[in-house]
Amino acid sequence: MEFKILVLVKQVPDTANLSGDVMQEDGTVNRSKLPAIFNPEDKVALELALQVKDKYPNSKVSVITMGPPRATDILRECLYMGADEAYLITDRKFAGADTLATSYVLSEAIKKLGHFDLIFGGRQAIDGDTAQVGPQTAEKLNLPQVTYAQQILDITQTHISIKRKIEGGTEVVKAKMPVLITVIKEAAFPRPFSAKRVMAYKSAKSLLELEKLVEGNSLLYIDTLTQEYKDKGLFIPTFTMDELQLDPDKCGVKGSPTKVYKVESVVLASKSHELFEPSKTAISNLIDRLMADHIFG
C-alpha cells in the first residue's frame, strides 16, 4: 500500500515571547516583529504523516504553507524531518486573511497539487487558537473531516481508523479516504531533524530566496539558477495569487468577513487589595479573616 499525504503547516509568532510594538493600529499583528516558530500541533501532524510513510515507504509526504516568504524556514524544517516535498503559497495580497480567506487559498492550492488520500494538519495554531482552518478547508474541498485526532489505529487501502478526543472521553471513528484530519499535540512526539537530511536540504530555497541571490549577483540568472536547484532537488516551489488563478475578492483582507473593530490593551481596573506580609503572623491573621467570613471551616 502507498498513500499520497499532504500536511498543512503554519509558521506562527511565538505568543509566549511578546514584546512591544507588535500590535498595529488596525488591530492586526506585525508578525515581522515577533520570533517565528513552527506551529506545534502542525509539527505533530507532520510526525503522524511521517509515521504512515515509515510503515508504507512508497507513500509520499508533501507539505504546504501559506505565509510570508520567511515561512520557508519551517518548510526546510519539514524537509529535515522527512517530508518529500514542500510548497510555499505567498502573496502580499494574502495579508490580513482570516480563517475563511486562508482556507479558500489553501483549498485552491490543494486542488492544483492533485489528489491526496490523507490531509493532516494541527488542530489549531497558537496565535489564534481558532481551530477553524482545518474544517473550513475540508468543507471547501468537499471532504469529510476528523478533528481532534489522537491516534491512528489502522489503515487499509480505502479507510483509516482513528481514535479522537470527545468531550469527557474518546471515540473511535472509521473514515473513508480521502479525508482531512486535524491532530492534537498528544498524538505524537515530533522526531528530531535527521542530521543527514539537514546536510542535504539546508540549502533548499524558495523562488523568492533565489531571486534575492540573483539581485545581489550579476553573474547569476534566475532561470538557470532555478533549474540548477530543481535538478539538485533543492527547489521549494512557490505560488502566488495569480499563479493559482485565485479570485482576489476572496483573498486577504477583502476575502475575510471577520473584521477587527476595536482593540483594547488590557487595562486592569486596579481594585485595591489588602496586602499581607509573607510572615507566619500575617498569614495567620488572613486565615482568621477568612474563617470569620465563613470561607474556611
Binding site: 474544517p135 470527545i166 471577520t258
Partner: protein
C-alpha cells in the same frame, strides 16, 4: 441590508441524550440578544430520542425549537449534522448563530461558516448588540464578538459587518444559565432528516466516556498554581495546600504547558471557568485568559513574588513573596488553627 432576519439561533448539543451546559448558557445569552434585536430565539436540537432536550430549551427562554430526530443522528458526526444544520440555517437565514466552543462546536461551526459564507469568531468571552461605524459606514445592530487575543495582551472586538449571518462560539461556563420563570411557548417544529450519500463516510465505531473525576466548577475552594511555581516538585505544594484546606487543585495554561498539571484542571479561557468561594492563585501572573476563568470568584488570594503581577489587580488579598516559602507558612498557620 433590507429584510434581514432578527432571529438568534442556538445549536443545542448533546451526547448520549445529555445536553451540554454551555448550550443552555447560550440560550440565556441568546434570549437577551434576541430581545435587543427585536427577534426570536430559536433552539436547534439534533440527535435520536432527544425530544426531552427540545422541551428543556423553553426553560432557558427559546421561542421555538427545531428538532431533527433520527437514528442516523445518534452520535455526532460532522457531515450528517452539518448538512441538517446547514439546511436549516440557509432556509431561515437567522441573524446570529451561536455554538458552544466544545469539541463538537469547534468541529461543526467552522464547517457551517464556510458553507454559508458567514463570519465566525471562536471562543468569545462576551457578546453584545450595538450600532457600529466601521470604515465610515453605519451598521445597525451588529453582533460584537469580544475575545482576548494574542497571548491575552489585548481584548479584541470582532465584527462581521458584511455577512448576513454572524456566528460565534463561546466556552462553557463563561456565561450563566438562568431558567425563565414562565416559558412563553412550547413550540417544537419537527424537521425531517434527509439522508445523503456522504453521511457514512465517517462512522463512529465506539465511544469511551471516562468518569468525570474532576469537577472544578463545583469546588468551593480552589488552589491554583502557575508557571511561577517553577517545577513539578514545587507544584506538590499546591496539592499539599489544597489537601490541608479542603480544596481542589487547578492550574494556569502555562502550568499545563509546562507539564506541572493535567489539562482537565486548567482554569481560564481555554480551560474551565470557575466561581468558587475562595481562589488562591500561587505563582500565577494573571494573563487575561486566566483571569477570564476565575475573576468572579467570591474571594481571591494572590501569592506572587512580583508585586506588579496583574493577578493582584483582581485579588482581594495579596501576599508578595516566594511561593515556596509562603505556601508552607500558610499550611502551617492553618494547621495551627485546627489544633
Amino acid at each position: 441590508m433590507e429584510n434581514i432576519s432578527k432571529d438568534v439561533f442556538v445549536f443545542v448539543e448533546q451526547n448520549r441524550g445529555i445536553p451540554a451546559d454551555v448550550s443552555f448558557e447560550l440560550l440565556t445569552k441568546g434570549r437577551k440578544l434576541a430581545d435587543k434585536l427585536g427577534g426570536e430565539l430559536k433552539a436547534i436540537v439534533l440527535g435520536y430520542n432527544v425530544e426531552d432536550i427540545a422541551k428543556e430549551t423553553f426553560t432557558y427562554g427559546s421561542d421555538e425549537c427545531f428538532l431533527v430526530d433520527h437514528p442516523e443522528l445518534k452520535y455526532f458526526r460532522t457531515l450528517p449534522y452539518s448538512n441538517a444544520l446547514g439546511d436549516l440555517i440557509l432556509t431561515y437565514q437567522p441573524r446570529i448563530v451561536l455554538f458552544g466552543a466544545t469539541i463538537i462546536g469547534r468541529d461543526i461551526a467552522p464547517r457551517l461558516a464556510s458553507k454559508t459564507k458567514s463570519g465566525l469568531t471562536a471562543d468569545c468571552t462576551d457578546l453584545q448588540i450595538s450600532d457600529v461605524v466601521y470604515l465610515k459606514q453605519d451598521y445597525k445592530d451588529l453582533l460584537l464578538q469580544i475575545r482576548p487575543a494574542f497571548g491575552g495582551n489585548i481584548i479584541a472586538t470582532i465584527i462581521t459587518p458584511d455577512t448576513k449571518i454572524q456566528m460565534a462560539t463561546v466556552r462553557e461556563g463563561v456565561m450563566q444559565k438562568i431558567p425563565v420563570s414562565n416559558p412563553k411557548t412550547h413550540k417544537i417544529t419537527k424537521i425531517e432528516y434527509k439522508p445523503s450519500e456522504v453521511d457514512n463516510l465517517v462512522e463512529v465505531i465506539e465511544q469511551h466516556i471516562e468518569e468525570k473525576k474532576v469537577n472544578l466548577k463545583a469546588a468551593p475552594i480552589i488552589v491554583a498554581g502557575g508557571y511561577g511555581m517553577g517545577s513539578k516538585e514545587n507544584f506538590r505544594l499546591i496539592h499539599e495546600l489544597a489537601k490541608t484546606i479542603g480544596g481542589e487543585v487547578a492550574g494556569s495554561r502555562a502550568a499545563v504547558d509546562a507539564g506541572f498539571i493535567t489539562p482537565d484542571r486548567q482554569v481560564g479561557q481555554t480551560g474551565v471557568t470557575v466561581r468558587p468561594k475562595l481562589y488562591i492563585a500561587c505563582g500565577i501572573s494573571g494573563a487575561i485568559q486566566h483571569r477570564a476563568g476565575m475573576q468572579e470568584s467570591n474571594k481571591i488570594i494572590a501569592i506572587n513574588n512580583d508585586p506588579d503581577a496583574p493577578i493582584f489587580s483582581i485579588a482581594h488579598y495579596g501576599i508578595v513573596g516566594d511561593v515556596t516559602e509562603v505556601i508552607p507558612m500558610f499550611i502551617e498557620a492553618y494547621k495551627n488553627k485546627l489544633k
